[in-house]
């Protein structure tokens, strides 16, 4: 039985959208963002509400093809579609976008052009080695973002408020990590699907409410007896997994446990914490923006060059979570992730199921056949 019914998360989402509508009527701004490099602490500290835009879906993808070419990735197409049709997306007053992959780098231009939503593009160096001048450039970008946010909300980011938001989001990261870590044990109670729902809901709610939600989930988990059955332990990886991709997790988890992931909509968001004020100078020195710059610069992603940190991260999780296989789902035309499949297979030395799809639903049974065949090999 599902630990928390999907309907519960959907109800929370619905209520949150209503809250956002009400907040906007009071003049509060909503800032949409897409990826793990968006410094949500700054958005919140400026008095705006950050919401992660992570829906996909076939209908949205098809709607998006009005604006983008069919060979733009499904996530970008669905983003465009969702701005047209999803109530949450329609609450967005501004978009905070980070130059990550080519498509996400150019998506904001289309959003701005077709929906008239202002966009701030944050430049994150693509190279991953944290050389001082690169981190300094990113730090300067954060200064620029602070100015843009102040213009949007009419409220400058104060150092105290920013420290407080850093602490709040750190706490949220820690709580999500705790929830995810319950899957280290055999026969985990928390499914990969519920973990995805939990994280997505947390990013929608903001730290205060989200922390309560995760605490509640942890309480439920602690009270539940664990089953004795053991199933294959799998890791999930690849392109962004959206709220609408839960079907894949349900399909996989019919016969295996998804115990960890290397997704941007998964563990990579809550891995690590921003050094807080008052810690040792090595980790807690500098202004809050300095610390945010260092933290976000060091996040691994497959698109960074070289992407060895991403490999190290994946291998560490595979080891720590005793993973027996990898389900690797990429979106059509997602170069940063799909190019790495072969290399990843060699680096892992584990069975890998690579699914390269768009958001269409017609191929579900083919995917099921492939998933089941993969399970038989484990």
């Amino acid at each position: 039985m599902e630990l928390i019914p999907r309907a519960t998360f959907e109800q929370i989402r619905h209520e949150r959208v209503e809250e956002l509508i009400a907040a906007r009527k009071q003049g509060t701004k909503v800032v949409g963002y897409f990826c793990i490099y968006a410094p949500v602490e700054m958005v919140q500290a400026a008095g705006a509400i950050p919401v992660r835009l992570m829906r996909g879906g076939q209908a949205a993808e098809e709607a998006g093809e009005k604006f983008l070419r069919a060979d733009a990735c499904s996530f970008c197409n669905s983003c465009m579609g969702n701005f047209e049709r999803d109530q949450l997306y329609q609450q967005v007053d501004a978009v905070l976008s980070v130059n990550t992959c080519d498509m996400m780098r150019r998506l904001p231009e289309s959003i701005e052009k077709h929906f008239g939503i202002p966009v701030y593009q944050l430049y994150m160096p693509r190279t991953s080695e944290p050389l001082p001048h690169r981190v300094a450039e990113f730090r300067r970008q954060l200064d620029g973002l602070a100015g843009e946010l102040a213009t949007l909300t009419g409220s400058a980011i104060g150092a105290e408020r920013l420290e407080s938001e850093i602490a709040a989001f750190n706490r949220l990261r820690e709580m999500l990590r705790q929830a995810s870590d319950t899957r280290r044990m055999n026969a985990p109670l928390l499914s990969g699907g519920t973990m995805l729902d939990l994280a997505a809901t947390a990013w929608l709610l903001g730290p205060v409410k989200a922390i309560s939600l995760v605490e509640e989930v942890l309480r439920i988990l602690a009270a539940r007896p664990r089953p004795e059955t053991r199933r294959p332990r799998l890791m999930l990886g690849g392109s962004i997994l959206t709220e609408d991709d839960r079907w894949l997790l349900e399909m996989v988890e019919e016969k295996a446990d998804v115990v960890t992931d290397i997704l941007c909509t998964g563990t990579r968001w809550f891995e690590g914490t921003v050094p807080e004020r008052g810690l040792s100078p090595e980790v807690g020195g500098g202004s809050p923006l300095d610390r945010l710059a260092c933290f976000y610069f060091s996040r691994p992603c497959m698109h960074r060059r070289p992407n060895s940190a991403m490999y190290e991260y994946a291998q560490r999780l595979a080891r720590e979570f005793r993973v027996g296989g990898l389900v690797y789902k990429t979106l059509f035309y997602c170069d940063p992730w799909s190019f790495e499949v072969r290399r990843l297979q060699e680096a892992f030395g584990l069975p890998v199921l690579h699914l390269d799809t768009d958001y269409s639903t017609e191929n579900r049974e083919q995917v099921r056949t492939r998933v089941e065949a993969f399970m038989e090999t484990l």
Binding site: F67, L68, R69, D71, A72, C73, C76, N99, C101, D102, M103, R105, R106, L107, E109, S110, K113, Y120, Q121, L122, Y123, P125, R126, T127, E129, L131, H133, R134, A136, E137, R140, Q141, G144, H303, R305, P306, N307, F332, Y333, D335, P336, S338, F339, E340, V341, R342, R343
Partner: protein, 472 residues
Amino acid sequence: MSQRSLTSPTGRTSPTSDFPDPKPARVTFDEWQELFEQVPEALVEEYHYFPSNREAFSKYLFPPQTFAIYGMRHLRRLKYDNSLAALRMWGFVQNETERLFRARQTGRRVIATMGDLGAVPVIVNSFPRCTAFYPDCIWWTPFAMESRVLFDAAAELGIGDATCFSRAALGAFAKHSYFPDPDLVIASTGASCDDYSGVEQLAEQFAPEMLWVEMPMRCEMGQMGSMRPMLVQEYQRVVERMEKLTGHHVSDDELRQSVLAANRVRKLVKRLRELAFRQGVLPALEMMVIEFGNLHYYSDITEWTAVLEHLLATAEERAAKGERVLSEGALRVVWVTPPADPLLLTYVEDHGARVVGTEYVINQALEVIDESKPGLEAIAESFMAASLIGNSRARAQSAIDQAREHGAEGVIISGIFGGSHCAMEGRLIADYVKAELDLPVLEFDVAPPSNEIGRQLQTRIDAFLEVLRSRR
């Protein structure tokens, strides 16, 4: 005219009475064969790459037939400018692979520069006996060879079909036969496309060492200048790595000399573009080859400069005489993104159009470097004009400006299905052009290598040109 007066240390750089250029025209592969039979032996003996080297191996004045025999089958289908300068250019460009292997054999260091398209070779060339080249340019090879062999090799390493043809570069690394294994790979990333960034990442396994260089992606035009200091520091890393490799401390003057040499090329190309776009004195195919020479000078800047001087002298002479290779009444189009299949340029010209502006994703290489500034700073500043550094609006603006300047009647945007920036940019650029200039835009994807242009695409091009004609 005496032979002496025509010959510079780097070869003849103007039309010659030994082989007077015929009336300007685009000629077929077979016609060039006939023309080449009239080229005096002395001229064939005259042109050498690595000019100080006069050994037989470095001759390069061969007709397209020579390279078709060596596998460049597509050359049989193209049309060429019929001047000696153009013949010389083709010979020089086509034997670049040989030149790179000779560079290695003659003790030069071979440095693969990737991704930035035009800036890093200026730094590399300031070091003695170093030859920079771009594996990126291998993207034309599958078309020239009409072969999938490099794509198949890339696929074996993880890059499948639905992506940019630049994946051929990865195949070339794996094959170890299209260029010598480089002594160093300098891979720039950031303001490039994802496809190529992925190629670079996977090519790392073939590199003795890969130096990753950040190219900033500016967020707004207003921030352009302020990102330059970061790029200067990245270039400083290139200098340091090159010094470690060569054991040579590069001086400010050496860097400056390299900037001057690069600028010589850039200025020649700038003038050639003006003449070709305004007066139709050179075909689009030759002009594309000429523009891309700004990237790394086909691995020999001295001789490439001489080739360009020769081409410019030819173009100036034609312009002065009022001779054209393309008719004055031809439909004027601006071309955005270089076509991987060169046959497309031939086709468009065959059907009554001519190219009067280009945005070939190499703006940074066309920009003249400010010679009054310190070397690295000046190179970084010129890079701020890069095609992929900003947003699509900036690229569109470049096409719009050229269209205005040369009275273009339409814009052609060629892309690649699954190409990361093509997928997002093509439509945006088309929309900007239509909105600002009310010009017809043809956007299409270049098909994989073949011995002809697909019929569907032919029909689309034909229909587009009809529309342009009907608007006159």
